[in-house]
């Protein structure tokens, strides 16, 4: 391990990376990555792929089994669509119903290049905005395909009966989101994720009724079973009975969401976890770009130590809300001391810092930029509330549009805010602060959404593919549904076409025996610790380390320190964990402990990935690498690649593999939201 005191003044981690990972192997031929991007100009790649891919005929589809883990937008849309095609699908979720997956909580909207507003949108522009928003760290071909199928998603959802917002003329309404100069976001009040998920859930229910999909609720995947080098099944824990169950299939799809709860406090649901990614990692799948974690600028600030989660205030609020802090430090101090109210500060003493710094995009600049700008003002002493908050003010919108219009647009969000904070946002500005929200990094997949393990696919937030170093608002819903409805159902057939002679698998094989044994041993090991700390206590400690050292502002010294502190938390976990109750029974403490064990693996990989990337790009901000005016300083020469990490064993250093990124259809440039 590197000695912290020797790092004084050092900003480039390259000389010490060998202490954390095997960096050199990335040059070896066996570690060259094949992303399987089709030939041809970018606008024709997906069409060409579909025209030449292999298919499976209807009679054979019936004989092929597919496991889909997760029932969020990606999982439910994939399971239902694969069922419609005629495959036998087994669909798993940890909740009591597929309808409760965390996609349900997405508020603001879903992007599509429909250009219904005639404001200059196109597939190319959506593609361009997404690549630029991701700070040129996403795979060009995947993003183009995403933009291409975006329009099909809206058609599909309207046909499902999703009640999108409409204009008086009866056509679909749009609004704007960050990082775009067009209005391309479709929405259903502040509940777009709910409505899209209920749409996918409805399609899923139709297939369950038909018998093509079998739904398994309250079950958590514990391991992936490999047979002859291919993913052929999973081991799950029945969360109601504690029983360990086996399921086999010709292919396994992970749609398990992001790992944002590595920070403990986040906008994610209580059950969100990164365990599937860790299980895939340990079986040989690469984890990619883990340092790219999105900190969302508009969340309700933390109230205290007993807090369990943070609540997002939709980005759509930045359409009409103006973000500010006091211009004078003494005003900020007076507000923090409770001597002044925000409404006491006259307009000329308010610093609308986003409008000041980024005139072209103003309050609608991308999330990473808005979050960092809030942190910068608070660190400089201009924060309000506890000092870690800024104002989001609707006074101006109410003056311009009237309270009724504002209520119509954001009423449910305002109610939610008032419930949590006990303040009335129609009368006084909202207080907001950034919080962990989404993870751009995840399981590495090729163009076909297949991981580096044959037969194992990853879709939605759990893969790394489309958002680069920063995701634009309203693009997560788009990606989840694109993967599930329109991409995986094609690429899956290309994979299964040579599997038609492989009979249904039995779970009565040595491979399943061994996998189940491993799961049982893992559970017994944790149950046997019999320490004094609950999983939540240890998870909170991990969260503090991650937020302080691997959060919005990262430094070489801080990241090295983070790896050491994560190690300490890990030691505490294995020596002082307490799980009350028994393993072969419903046990919510055991569920938390198992997820936390996996978060410890991810947390360390996040820190190592951030340490390796000696540049600032998108949400990854290394304080050593910034321009004179505080903007991210990218290093395209050395870091225009996807960092993929290969597992080599417990307590062994992971191997770094690099997928170089090439931009052919788009000119690489410095991200500029100022002019």
């Amino acid at each position: 391990m590197a000695n912290l005191s020797n790092l004084e003044g050092m900003i480039d981690s390259s000389p010490i990376m060998k202490d954390f990972a095997d960096i050199e192997s990335s040059k070896l031929p066996e570690y060259q990555i094949d992303s399987k991007i089709p030939e041809g100009p970018i606008a024709e790649k997906w069409t060409n792929y579909k025209a030449h891919q292999k298919l499976v005929n209807p009679a054979n589809k019936r004989n092929l089994d597919i496991i889909v883990v997760g029932t969020g937008l990606a999982g439910a849309s994939a399971a239902s669509t694969l069922g419609e095609l005629g495959f036998n699908v087994k669909n798993f979720c940890i909740q009591d119903s597929p309808r409760r997956a965390h996609s349900i909580a997405a508020q603001g909207g879903i992007n599509a290049a429909k250009n219904y507003q005639n404001d200059g949108d196109s597939v190319y522009r959506l593609f361009y905005d997404t690549v630029k928003g991701g700070d040129f760290r996403s795979r060009e071909a995947n993003v183009y395909r995403l933009a291409e199928v975006s329009n099909n998603i809206i058609d599909q959802c309207v046909q499902q009966g999703v009640p999108f917002a409409r204009e008086y003329g009866g056509l679909l309404a749009n609004r704007s989101f960050g990082g775009a100069q067009v209005s391309r976001t479709f929405y259903a009040k502040g509940q777009t994720g709910q409505q899209l998920l209920l749409g996918a859930y409805a399609s899923l229910n139709r297939q369950i009724q038909k018998g093509t999909v079998k739904s398994y609720n309250r079950r958590e995947m514990m391991d992936i079973v490999m047979i002859d080098g291919r993913a052929r099944g999973i081991i799950v824990r029945n969360l109601v009975t504690g029983e360990i169950e086996r399921y086999a299939a010709h292919a396994v799809v992970l749609a398990t969401g992001g790992y944002g709860r590595a920070f403990f406090l986040s906008t994610n649901a209580m059950g969100c976890n990164g365990s599937a990614a860790v299980q895939a990692f340990k079986k040989g799948a690469y984890l990619a770009n883990l340092a790219f974690t999105q900190i969302h600028p508009t969340c309700i600030p933390v109230h205290g130590e007993d807090q369990s989660k943070l609540t997002l205030m939709s980005e759509s609020l930045r359409n009409d809300g103006r973000i500010w802090v006091p211009k004078k430090k003494e005003d900020a101090e007076a507000i923090r001391a409770g001597q002044k109210k925000p409404t006491d500060i006259p307009d000329e003493d308010r610093d609308f810092y986003l409008e000041r710094r980024y005139p072209a995009f103003g309050n609608l600049c991308p999330r990473d930029i808005a979050s960092r700008a809030a942190k910068e003002r608070c660190d400089a002493g201009y924060g309000v509330g506890t000092g870690n908050a800024v104002y989001l003010d609707f006074k101006y919108a109410i003056e311009r549009l009237g309270e009724d219009v504002v209520r119509d647009r954001y009423g449910n969000l305002f109610d939610m805010y008032q419930m949590i904070s006990d303040d009335n946002p129609y009368k006084t500005p909202m207080m907001i602060f950034p919080a962990s929200h989404y993870t751009m990094g995840g399981i590495w997949v090729d163009y076909e959404l297949q991981t580096s393990i044959k037969g194992l696919f990853a879709i939605g937030e759990c893969n790394f593919s489309d958002h680069g170093a920063n995701r634009l608002g309203a693009s997560a819903l788009m990606q989840g549904l694109a993967d599930g409805y329109f991409v995986l159902p094609y690429t899956m057939q290309n994979y299964l076409s040579d599997q038609i002679k492989v009979p249904h698998f039995t779970t009565d094989t040595p491979e399943f025996d061994e996998a189940e044994k491993g799961v049982r041993e893992r559970i017994e090991k944790l149950m046997a610790i019999k320490g004094t700390k609950s999983p939540d206590e240890i998870h909170k400690r991990l969260g503090h380390v991650m937020w302080n050292l691997v959060g919005m502002g990262r430094t070489l010294q801080g990241l090295v320190k983070a790896t050491e502190e994560i190690e300490e938390v890990r030691k505490e976990f294995y020596s002082d964990l307490r799980i009350v109750g028994s393993a072969d029974d419903l046990n919510t403490e055991l569920e938390k402990a198992l997820r936390l064990e996996d978060f410890l693996v991810i947390a360390k990989m996040m820190a190592i990935d951030a340490l390796n990337r000696n540049e600032s790009c998108g949400a990854h901000f290394r304080e050593e690498y910034q321009t004179a005016d505080g903007e991210a300083a990218r290093n395209d020469e050395e870091y225009m690649y996807v960092s993929c990490w290969k597992y080599t064993g417990e307590n062994e250093k992971p191997i770094l593999l690099k997928e170089p990124l090439k931009y052919e259809a788009i000119k690489v440039q410095t991200r500029n939201y100022k002019s």
């Binding site: 419609e84 409505q195 205290g304």
Partner: protein, 251 residues
């Protein structure tokens, strides 16, 4: 401004669906009034774990009032005494220092207790599977703007579609009826042009499944709508009755 209170808790504890349950009393100090109700239960569970006792089992996930996972009968009301919110959105500032709070699971024949405050709501999924969808395969949809839908109709459909499937309506009803839940889904599709083709079949199939699963009959007491955390209005039930009768006559 933050302050703290002490509360006495009377919580229903039950090992399994077939086992006998009972109320158990707990006391909790230093509860921040800024905490949510479920964060208060987290504190209790932390205290129980410290004493090597099994924590109280309850469902919760998104903790922002949209997933429908959380439940709880609090002081005689599903989702607690404040109207129009879920349990996870209830804050401790709504309680006073020294209050005794009674917490029970949903009580309904169709929702058996799994453990403590956690119940099995699979019956809701089964009703949706019986017909809560528009039958078409992915890929065949026409352009989204081909069929204009008036804003008023879209807004009413959206209000019905807001149902989170938590089951409070069933828990609130003295008959254990699921009419509000079923009517919300039937209404959404009955209002929209995409739902017309299967309109009658859907109403018949969903009502039939609801009856099969042991939910009670509706006697128009209105408790469901009064306790619904999403304020789904009773007019949905009126619409379902019309839809069902029309569908029956068409048979």
């Amino acid at each position: 401004m933050e302050k703290t209170i002490s509360v006495n808790l009377k919580i229903w504890r039950q090992r399994g669906p077939k086992e006998k349950g009972q109320f158990v009393n707990y006391h909790l100090d230093n509860v921040s009034t800024d905490s949510s109700f479920l964060e208060m239960l987290d504190m209790l569970n932390q205290q129980l774990v410290e004493n090597n006792q099994e924590p109280v089992v309850f469902d919760s996930d998104c903790r922002e009032g949209i997933c429908g996972m959380c439940s709880l009968y609090i002081n005689g009301h599903p989702h607690g005494p404040v109207q129009g919110i879920t349990t996870c959105q209830l804050h401790m500032r709504k309680f006073n220092d020294g209050d005794t709070i009674t917490i029970e699971p949903w009580r309904s024949a169709a929702f058996p207790v799994i453990r403590d405050l956690m119940v099995n709501r699979n019956a809701f999924d089964q009703i949706q599977q019986a017909g809560g969808y528009v039958s078409f395969n992915c890929g065949g949809a026409q352009d989204a703007n081909n069929i204009p839908i008036s804003k008023e109709v879209a807004d009413v459909a959206m209000d019905s579609a807001t149902c989170i499937g938590c089951g409070a309506c069933v828990a609130a009803c003295k008959n254990g009826s699921a009419m509000l839940f079923v009517s919300a889904k039937v209404s959404q599709f009955a209002l929209l042009p995409q739902g017309q083709v299967e309109r009658k079949r859907r109403a018949r199939a969903m009502v039939k499944k609801m009856d099969e699963l042991g939910f009670g009959n509706c006697t128009n007491t209105g408790a469901c709508a009064a306790e619904c955390p999403k304020n789904i209005p009773l007019s949905n039930i009126a619409r379902l009755n019309r839809e069902f009768i029309k569908a029956k006559f068409a048979e």
